[in-house]
């Protein structure tokens, strides 16, 4: 079964487009080896999209409370609690944390869900990403490439440590 790569965020809202940019990078390089889903808003669609899927990678922008612009947070979406910056920025009815919880409650989560959150700052209309955020998109794409090619699903530090997309320890796990 192909891995599913999901981007959240809006291409025309500046840094919020970091998810779609990462998806574009991966789509170019992995082509038909993966399934891709760009989701600009309605996260309830994710429940059906990832049901029965073995491996899901999801990329989203985080608001500034989660760290410094361009920081990358990598989370096990089924076991770790999302940072506040991911859980509260949704403007689309349900947020990602709720979608995951609902999915678990209804018995339909994917087998593995890795979330890459990239700290952003500017969500105003526009198509230009901050350089640090854009660099983080490339770093995350590289990390997912390695994870898929390596088949382990584990982040590779050399990719993660590529500056300026900086690695941030996830502290709010439980």
């Amino acid at each position: 079964m192909k891995p599913l790569i999901i981007s959240l965020g809006h291409r025309y809202r500046s840094d919020d487009g970091v998810g779609p940019l990462t998806l574009d990078l991966l789509r170019q390089r992995l082509r038909d080896r993966v399934d891709c889903l760009e989701n600009p808003g309605d996260v309830t669609r994710l429940l059906a999209a990832w049901q029965g899927v073995e491996r899901v990678y999801l990329i989203d922008a985080l608001d500034g409370s989660a760290g410094e612009r361009g920081d990358i947070l990598e989370l096990d979406g089924l076991r770790q609690v999302l940072p506040a910056g991911a859980a509260s920025t949704s403007s689309h009815g349900l947020n990602l944390a709720e979608a995951i919880e609902l999915s678990k409650m209804l018995g339909s989560p994917p087998q593995r869900l890795t979330i890459y959150g990239i700290v952003a700052a500017n969500f105003s209309p526009g198509q230009t990403l901050d350089p640090a955020v854009e660099a983080a998109a490339h770093a995350v794409a590289e990390r997912i490439m390695v994870a898929i090619d390596g088949g382990t699903g584990t982040a590779i530090e050399t990719a993660a440590s590529n500056q300026p997309g900086k690695e941030t320890a996830c502290t709010n796990t439980h």
């Binding site: 025309y12 808003g41 429940l47 919880e101 609902l102 209804l106 969500f123």
Partner: protein
């Protein structure tokens, strides 16, 4: 002696998008209601200038992740109006089928995930799912059926890529549509169950006094429940062609919000959306939908905005029923699209987005380059009515505890399923009580 109490909700959940609301009231009444929208979609209107007319459907679809079909349809019809194109009946039917898909997915999202928790006293759909998993699963099933229609006709679930000025890039063979049938039949059964279920929800009683009665505004067409075409009519006797929209309606700048308030000139606020469509077009619903309304004892005219959840459920049923009829009578169009020639012109269109009337106007130069664009989304048109509802509603609920009152205000806003993301960011609710 007076003292001031403040109820503040930083983030109003379960609305599409972001904004802010400020309400100041005391025992004598409501003194101030401000629905603040920080960011109207003028970015898109400016963004469209200088672009080719054929790009408008795909660009405007990006205004909203919930109702992209509505933006595409209004853009396409406005361009066709500008260029003198009339879609063939077969293409018009396919567009209605696509629109049915969007109504189903948007309404199902709102009914089950955003609005129902209000009526049952849950803070979210997740909390509601703990006690009512079957209900939430039904909502997701309905939504999935809507997604399937949009995906099949539009090429993908979100921001469809298969629609174009003049028609579609590709039209399906009849056999390609048949796999939808079983899913839509199941969906129609689930929609019937949904109508019955929402009719049992405890619903706040609210009806405006006659002097404050709503003016409902919707499209009306002699042959069909309104989606893509018709005249703009109202319960106060308005009856105009779409190209007279700018003559009849006016956008006003209001200091507390960046979004323009839409009003009817010399009259004021009006109400668009499912209740307006229903009240003005009840006899154009499918027979099954009208029978279901009768079956639950729901009248053909509704003035209580809290019952909008029932109207939405009836529109979901209508959309499934009509979608199945469209499948039954599908004839593949001879040509996927009608060719057009650019010309210096101006085109107008209004279609019925899930949340209500969506007006587009474009001017083109002789090469087809857009020189001017105007987009009026339904939430902008309902802004003033939402404020008026709160102004009229709160005095009736002053005996409520503050927390309960705040929840009631949020529920009242959600009656309109505001798609503030079409125009803004998040909604913050700020209630200030002076007593």
């Amino acid at each position: 002696m007076t003292s001031t109490r403040v109820i503040k909700v930083d983030y109003l959940a379960r609305v599409e998008g972001e904004g802010a609301l400020f309400v100041q009231y005391d025992d004598a009444g409501v003194h101030d209601v401000k629905l603040k929208i920080f960011e109207p979609p003028r970015f898109f209107e400016a963004f469209l200038r200088g672009r080719d007319y054929r790009e408008a459907p795909d660009i405007t679809a990006r205004i909203c992740g919930i109702c992209p079909v509505a933006y595409q349809m209004s853009a396409i019809h406005a361009m066709e109006n500008a260029l003198g194109i009339e879609p063939t009946p077969e293409l018009a039917a396919l567009r209605r089928l696509l629109y049915c898909g969007e109504w189903i997915e948007s309404h199902a999202l709102h009914i089950f995930m955003l609005h129902a928790p209000d009526f049952l006293g849950y803070e979210s759909a997740v909390a509601m799912a703990r006690d009512h998993p079957g209900i939430v699963e039904r909502g997701l099933e309905l939504k999935k059926a809507g997604n399937a229609i949009v995906s099949l006709l539009g090429g993908r679930e979100v921001h469809p890529i298969n629609v174009r000025v003049g028609g579609f890039y590709r039209v399906p063979e009849a056999r390609e549509l048949q796999p939808l049938r079983q899913q839509l039949q199941r969906g129609r059964d689930a929609a019937i169950d949904t109508v019955r279920w929402v009719s049992t929800l405890p619903c706040p009683k609210f009806q405006r006094q006659q002097q404050h009665d709503y003016e409902f505004v919707a499209l009306q067409h002699p042959d069909e429940y309104p989606m893509n075409r018709g005249r703009i009519v109202s319960t106060a006797g308005l009856d105009i062609a779409v190209w007279d929209y700018d003559v009849t309606f006016e956008e006003q700048h209001v200091q507390h919000t960046n979004a323009l308030h839409s009003v009817i000139r010399q009259r004021g606020a009006y109400f668009v959306g499912p209740m307006a469509r229903y009240n003005l077009n009840f006899d154009r619903l499918t027979a099954l939908t009208r029978d279901m309304a009768a079956d639950i004892g729901f009248p053909p005219f509704c003035r209580n905005p809290f019952q909008s959840i029932i109207v939405r459920s009836l529109e979901v049923l209508h959309a499934f029923d009509e979608a199945l009829q469209l499948l039954d009578h599908y004839r593949k169009p001879d040509q996927p699209w009608t060719e057009e020639t650019p010309a210096a012109s101006t085109g107008y269109a209004a279609t019925e987005a899930p949340r209500g009337l969506l007006y587009h106007r474009y001017s083109l130069d002789e090469t087809g380059t857009i020189t001017d664009a105007k987009i009026v989304p339904p939430t902008s048109q309902n802004q003033k009515t939402i404020e008026d509802d709160l102004r009229l509603m709160i005095p009736r609920y002053l005996s409520m505890a503050e927390e309960q009152l705040r929840s009631r205000c949020e529920q009242a806003i959600r009656n309109y399923d505001p798609c503030i993301s079409c125009a803004t960011h998040f909604l913050q609710l700020h209630l200030e009580k002076r007593s």
